[in-house]
Symmetry: C2
Subunit: 412 residues, 2 copies
């Protein structure tokens, strides 16, 4: 075992033992004869009590050798009384001693993300992000779904009207993928039960909102043998419940469901908001409020969106083709997932592609597999960044992404 | 539970039960009075015996209702005697009945990947790929490392001399990331134990070899508090052993290690290959042969590469600065991972950046955190595609990637 002991490894079972512990110095209180040094590994801190004369500064990396003791005055109830400290590296900028990491402005918080992670409360955000992602993977892996990795460099521009980034790809036109949609659908032609993917996706829109990034991370799922779109909602609902229960958070027994038509009426009557074919930010917020008041639920499904606001691969309602077998999932008044039953019938799919103004010739590579038999299927994309933002009730999506990207932010 | 029962769910515990099973039809043998229908969900197949008169064709999706029976003549030892079959969707192209999926040529194998996955042996490749990725994640998560997600759209072009793809990013110059190297290093300034990332990376080289793609998937790790580079090799070695043991494959007790200098001599003496500062494909193959003969090992570490062939962030050997604290891991004669101890000392790092002909001004966003204290660290990048290719002894890296990308291949 070559991983070195650091603050998060220290527990009561070490009490009385002479060990080495590694960490980055977060804080030093120098009382002359004695120093109280707080070291961190992001996850945890440890107080080191040391009587040596070496100058220890914030940002230094040390290996401390000593005995672990219980002390109720120490921040974690445990501390090391060190008989020796070795410097593995030294901070070279004195200014840092004066900085307040907590009170940085927004821009600095992005620029110095790595330094910020020295504070447990910031580390926790990214740890939660990693946990949520892993729980989602776990859930779908346990269902027997295949984890897939689809290309991020693609031949076709947009599939749903969003703006995409162009790439100089040798002598060809190429784009950055806005989702794995077409790929995960194609794979349904294998007869497989379902697939999931965690990936980075891209949208080239000049928006500066607390919920949009130009590069975001999606958790995408596609499920085969779907007879009704409510089956997909149930799978999404169960996986979200799984994550919330892993995080020891409560959730409604059943996520309430409201149709787009009814939502429109509620919004008009109760919130004086008039909708056209899609939800606005304002409408999502109002519906979040409505779900809380009406159902005591942070989660709300909106179903059967108008076809005009959904992409070509969405299946239309048989009895009312102006509407679709589709849904959004709102969490605390923000859309975090969007999905539908897909149109899998070759001829109708071609028709819908044309209706949306796309030339089917350019999509042959996608359409081809629909001819050789494909089960009825459906799925969704869940925005991991948004999900975590809502989970932690943070103000801005940039707070949950290590190195966010927006039209102005390309560094670090 | 909304996930429908399909062939891979059927086990002996269903014998005697009346159930519904869903699947895609892979093969039909029609004996007039009786049909033997093989359905698949990728992972498994199931034989359905049916006496109804409906025409069933390859590519159809069916729900079969009936009783599960044991029958040693059935391919899996179990079959369903169906009393009813419902069509969920129909294949519309008759040609498919005549196709041989197994005997497709290379191009068709990429074009019709989704159809190919109907065959268990092809599905198994991608299942193994997903498993390897998950085992690696599992290993590093259990060590307490943080899973990170770094941007794929970056400000800086190349960090190691590889060609990169340009993106039209609003009014800015941007590129596709060739690795998460600089990001995972920056995060070490948090004092964190270690990080890992599974991501897509990009190289814009016009090469058509069985081991290069323009978009590949890497498993990247960075570890803090490293005093000697052999510590990183040990961590990599242990994680590779973990994966191999999960797959019930054998591995050497210790991976043999040879220095670049010694490898050079071995290659010259035993294989008549002359090296300059780096390994060639031919040299890797020869060293794979050497490791097998000399140590009975499929795995071999080459260490201490010349500085001239390594990127600026590699730490040089103290006593012999022409060489570095670096390593490659070869698996069956192919480099699958590359790593090093990193130069973490601000002034020396700047010096090395200049030596490699890069303007440090352009890297301020990366260099900044090195001033405020950063532990000595090191890490590696492992090519997942290459690892799985070697694991399964496949000829071409395109065989382990669902939708491969090379200078000519941008579809599907």
């Amino acid at each position: 075992m070559m991983i070195k002991t650091s603050p998060s490894d220290i527990s009561k079972r070490y009490v009385g033992q002479q060990i080495d512990v590694y960490g980055l110095v977060l804080h030093v209180r120098d009382l002359g004869r004695k120093k109280f040094i707080i070291i961190t590994d992001g996850k945890s801190i440890l107080q080191i009590v040391y009587s040596g004369s070496e100058k220890v500064r914030r940002g230094d990396t040390i290996r401390a050798s000593g005995i672990i003791k219980e002390d109720p005055r120490a921040p974690t109830g445990l501390e090391m009384v060190a008989n020796n400290i070795t410097f593995l590296s030294k901070s070279i900028d004195e200014r840092f001693d004066q900085w307040s990491l907590r009170n940085m402005n927004k821009d600095k918080k992005i620029k110095y993300r790595a330094l910020l992670l020295r504070l447990l409360e910031f580390y926790k955000v990214f740890e939660e992000y990693a946990n949520v992602t892993q729980y989602l993977r776990e859930y779908y892996r346990n269902l027997g779904f295949l984890e897939i990795f689809t290309p991020k460099v693609v031949r076709m521009g947009t599939e749903s009207g969003s703006e995409v980034f162009s790439i100089l790809y040798f002598d060809k036109d190429a784009y950055l993928a806005q989702s794995p949609q077409l790929y995960k659908q194609m794979l349904m032609a294998s007869g497989i039960k379902g697939v999931y993917e965690v990936g980075s996706y891209f949208r080239a829109e000049v928006s500066f909102t607390p919920r949009h990034l130009t590069e975001f991370r999606g958790f995408d799922v596609e499920v085969n043998y779907i007879e009704d779109y409510s089956e997909i909602m149930k799978i999404l609902e169960d996986s979200v419940k799984y994550v919330l229960s892993k995080l020891e958070l409560s959730y409604p027994k059943e996520f309430p469901v409201i149709s787009f038509k009814d939502a429109k009426q509620v919004l008009q009557e109760k919130y004086d908001i008039r909708l056209k074919d899609d939800l606005s930010t304002e409408a999502e917020k109002a519906l979040g409020d409505y779900a809380k008041k009406e159902y005591d639920s942070d989660l709300l499904f909106i179903v059967e969106f108008p076809y005009d606001s959904r992409p070509f691969y969405t299946m239309r309602k048989e009895e009312d083709p102006k509407y679709t077998y589709s849904f959004d999932l709102l969490y605390k008044g923000l859309e975090i997932a969007s999905g539908s039953k897909r149109e899998y019938r070759y001829e109708i799919l071609i028709k819908q592609i044309k209706e949306k103004g796309i030339n089917p010739e350019r999509m042959k590579w996608y359409l081809e597999v629909f001819k050789y038999g494909i089960p009825p299927h459906g799925g969704f994309g869940l925005g991991i960044d948004r999900f975590v933002r809502q989970l932690l009730e943070l103000q801005d999506i940039r707070e949950v992404v290590l190195f966010p990207r927006d039209p102005d932010t390309l560094e670090p």
